[in-house]
Symmetry: D2
Subunit: 366 residues, 4 copies
């Protein structure tokens, strides 16, 4: 007994000594470090449109945009299970942004990459590197890392959209750079035609000769219209379906066939009435936004019902399966697979038991 | 003098001796080998539709297709300046093919890559690897190296199209492999839906998840419709123009952004009325087909007038410039730049004098 | 005044309400998020060999390895400025490991990638995927992500080496997977010749035909001997020097010319007596280990003197410049540039003022 | 009968008519074009050193180099089966070159790529882009497309080496460009240290930071010494052997791991006494030079004995197998696989019958 005590005392004193020299014995922490599977802090969560929209409207009453207001009127989705500064998952953050007619969200740029998926409204434009991009419900827009971007609104009624950024990833690495376009902050004037790159590169596999400016690590095609995506889904429905996610199409960089940005991939998924995918999990995180219809997902054994406007997150290595109810459902998905693939950390696993379906153990109470 | 004679005699006898051992002194042939610029045998040439079409019709009367006829009813464009076996240029051959209703051009495959550009007719289909591709005027189709392909025609009236193949290149390397689909030769049955890959991959930058079968060195998108190409040209006209070739769009592999096949690149060019490009030359060869309108080209100082249906070849390192007359002109172009780029032999030069325009020294008499 | 109070009250109540729905207003946190330059928590630090080595020896007395001991006898370098779980920087962790003759560190594998740089001793081997790698002072070894690795020691005297891993990066993303080779833990037997891949792929630009097993995202060459590296530095000294880091050579994957692993790059740097590089900074983090000689570095204006065996960290976006004293100094460097390049976050900046040298404002007191 | 005659007459007259319009019916030539396997004109051949060397010496008596002599004293190996202008195969030409002390082969550059393998002598240097490369027996040197290169000889005795170029390929495409360094022709002065790139990039997987000048499509390492290659073969002998070609090592570009030039690949092959490889064939052509030892090869069923200094060609799609006699044999090989791979025309086939060995039907009488 005395020996044990002595040893404990000796170790304690040793630990104290080495820590004073900024050393930490690995064997003290290795049980935490060497886990068979990831110890994931972030849990699945859902943000319901019926909760978010009225609060966004309220935010519109409380906070202006631009001159004497906020740079951006944004409510970020802070996952309650995430103890870090901010983040819907460990790598991504989703948010809802609203602009009113006449407002201007001043132009800035940052190393964090962003994408937008339009929820409602008309008449606003995002100006990316001098090119005004139209914004209509269901449109998908890019503002890649270090591109100038501001928002203006010359239409009627509020304009709302979903933002997804890689802020938790970039800031988790302490690599956030940020620059305002001008002092005082204002919106960069449009010096290119509206939807210019869409006009140039939007015809798919018919491309004008590449320009020097296009050797970018992201898609020079900054916007993808809803109609084209929805029609493509309808056309492919049924015979190209994945075992997991219904009919899927990925937004790609027309000059490479690769993902739209080096950190974030984006895709659309069509689930037909009653179509029920198998469960799987992967090391990448996906943020889903319900662009159309109703359905439910089983995330790590718990059921999450969803409908138009809802956003939910499937964190890394989380079992998930989706089903639509009543009619077609369309999910927009943003995931971090490009960054994981780049460092060879992308893994995927099919749910092995029970014909590929999880046993449901509860329902999300949110 | 005797010394000179002696030396000549000695050299002659030496040459005879080394040649008997399969050796050839380089200094005897080096003047031929080491030319400052390529000594190009192949000259520009034009095949006029008014000459070709009636002869194709005549061929239809003289030669059947399939059962007891030819495998293909094709008139190849043999450049008169080319002393080799066959070829419109040193690397490419263009041809016109015709199929009558009820005829079947049996399925085969070969290492030579082919493309088609539809001239007139309706109702025929090319079946590539079991997928029937519709053929309408202005459509562009691929039958890449070693893909099964046959043609059927269930419509009315003759169906005519332009073929471009890399036969002179592949056979120049003695690398032609060929295989018939069945014995006796017949057409591979369609086991996939009509225009299936167009449906899947034709939406441009919205792609279904890549399948294993798609890791091909050529575009899995086997057909590109005229309407989309023409509309894209119209949309881009004016502000994206090249200094040489008007408004240009390249047909690309949607999964890579690269050329449709590893040996041949294809593109469309719009020249607006009176638009006159500068002259340039490059080590790649281009075969031009007039898909719309009228115009003329100055090729190595000589003027070639052209109109709908004509085909002309601009061989490697040949100065060329184009102009439209009366209205819009659209040129379809097939070139061998991918193979040259792959071996680092692609060079380009702008015409340096006279504001970029050649002095015209004559007119093509054909 | 009442109005202000009312507004504050209204906002406070609004914030409370939205937070109850897992929403956080961006404008509340944006000042933290949108910083002109990275807000870097991790500061430069140095671990002196005169502090580390005796404590490592002490650890040897207190803690066994393998059977009834720790899996690894490792002291990790925990940067005092880092508030996270562990880490020498935000992405990398360095450590010192020691094995005594007769000890066996059992085989395991994990998604975290590791490298070793041998400090002292002889006779130990690291067995990577069944291949025993010799370990001599100055040797550089790889145990890439998910490769089996264990250590044995059949020589005399303690064996000490530096470990560098991407644990903070991988665990920061919650992507740590770990597996033991057997139960109970033991060392994987050697089923390949000693230094087999070094024998196969170590001759540089003379490679045997690639095997299927070599299409790995990391170098199949698992070890690089000190002598070759040191000789190469001596040979290149003087005329290939970088303006910053003396004569530099990068360890590369012979099959790609790229970095040894997708997350970590490694290199050697020779500073000749009195040679003083200019200051620069980059978004990548570097861990330096002093393999030979003495010198000092100015890190963010503060002077750090170093000598053989010391390890110091230059975190991301930290100004740094190095100089040798007395004689040649050789620094081994491990950095995270591959992961940053992959996601387009790599930036570099030369120190603009004062002829490229920082003003020294203090000395590291450690 | 009359009908047949009529038809023949009609066809003949039709053919005449279409040919007058530069058209050729495909069905007339398709039997030639559509061959199941390549119709290969070029046959295997061997050039014996006992034949070549004395004639080279004779050439030295008859023809000077440089001032008032030939630019190059070269005897090219003209395959007797090849009806084209020049060429050992359809794509490659090998030759022997000799320089005497004091001679200077003036500097030029051309689009044709060249390599050298040193046969005998010492003291000569090839100056490539201003860098003098030492030449010792067994060394392998590059003079890639469009690099300046000249030869000087400051040693004693004749210097002889093997040249391999892609002249038949490049000139077959009419893409030969050529430029003399100066007028009158002379050798470019050395403005870089001897074997500079070997010193910089010769240490294999330890590379200095890449320079802009190194983004070349060919290896910036212009020379590979015999000793390193021979030692590598000895080290790998036995356990890495290919089923066909003994122990093989490929010369690679250290910055990519790929072939040394975009058109030509080079390798060394060790055959141990009595070691007999299986037969195979591929669409690429290989020129073999016997760098050491004696042996024989069965090429398309015929036996070719060879010894030091002999050169033989295995054309595309030609069955071949090799064996050494008496002792180790080392073959240097240059092949055109990179150009074929680039255009997806590379195929390989193992000999299917007779345990992988051809039946020998004769012996080469040369």
């Amino acid at each position: 007994m005395a020996v044990v005590k002595d040893r404990e005392e000796t170790l304690r004193s040793f630990y104290e000594d080495v820590r004073s020299k900024a050393l930490e014995p690995l064997w003290v922490i290795s049980a935490n470090v060497n886990t068979v599977e990831p110890t994931r802090e972030v849990q699945p969560w859902i943000w319901r449109w019926r909760d978010v929209r009225p609060r966004m409207i309220q935010a519109g009453e409380l906070m202006g945009v631009g001159h004497e207001g906020a740079d951006r009127r944004v409510l970020t989705m802070k996952n309650p299970s995430n103890t870090r500064e901010l983040g819907t998952s460990r790598t991504l953050v989703s948010a809802v942004q609203m602009v009113y007619p006449g407002e201007e969200a001043p132009t800035h740029r940052h190393t964090m990459a962003a994408l937008r998926f339009i929820i409602e409204g008309e008449g606003a434009k995002t100006i990316v590197n001098g090119e005004p991009l139209t914004m209509e419900p269901g449109d998908f827009l890019l503002t890649p890392s270090w591109t100038w971007h501001g928002h203006i609104h010359q239409g009627a009624g509020p304009m709302l959209w979903l933002d997804v950024l890689d802020v938790p990833f970039v800031r988790g690495l302490d690599l956030g750079f940020y620059e305002e376009y001008s002092d005082p902050p204002r919106v960069q004037p449009a010096d290119r035609p509206i939807d210019d790159n869409l006009r140039r590169y939007g015809a798919g596999s018919l491309l004008p000769p590449p320009k020097a400016e296009l050797s970018t690590p992201y898609s020079p095609l900054f916007s993808y219209k809803w109609r084209q995506g929805r029609e493509t889904l309808a056309r492919l429905a049924g015979d190209d379906d994945s075992p997991y996610d219904g009919t899927a199409v990925t937004y790609t960089n027309p000059f490479t066939g690769g993902p739209v940005m080096p950190t974030i991939n984006a895709s659309l998924h069509l689930l037909r009435p009653g179509q029920s995918g198998n469960a799987h999990r992967h090391t990448s995180t996906t943020i889903y936004y319900v662009a159309e219809g109703r359905g439910s997902s089983i995330l790590e054994g718990k059921r999450f019902d969803w409908e138009f406007g809802d956003t939910f997150v499937v964190p890394n290595w989380c079992w998930h399966e989706h089903t639509a109810v009543d009619g077609d459902a369309v999910l927009f998905a943003a995931d971090d697979s490009p960054m994981l693939k780049a460092v060879d950390l992308l893994r995927e696993q099919s749910f092995p038991d029970n014909d590929g379906h999880q046993v449901v153990t509860g329902t999300c109470g949110v």
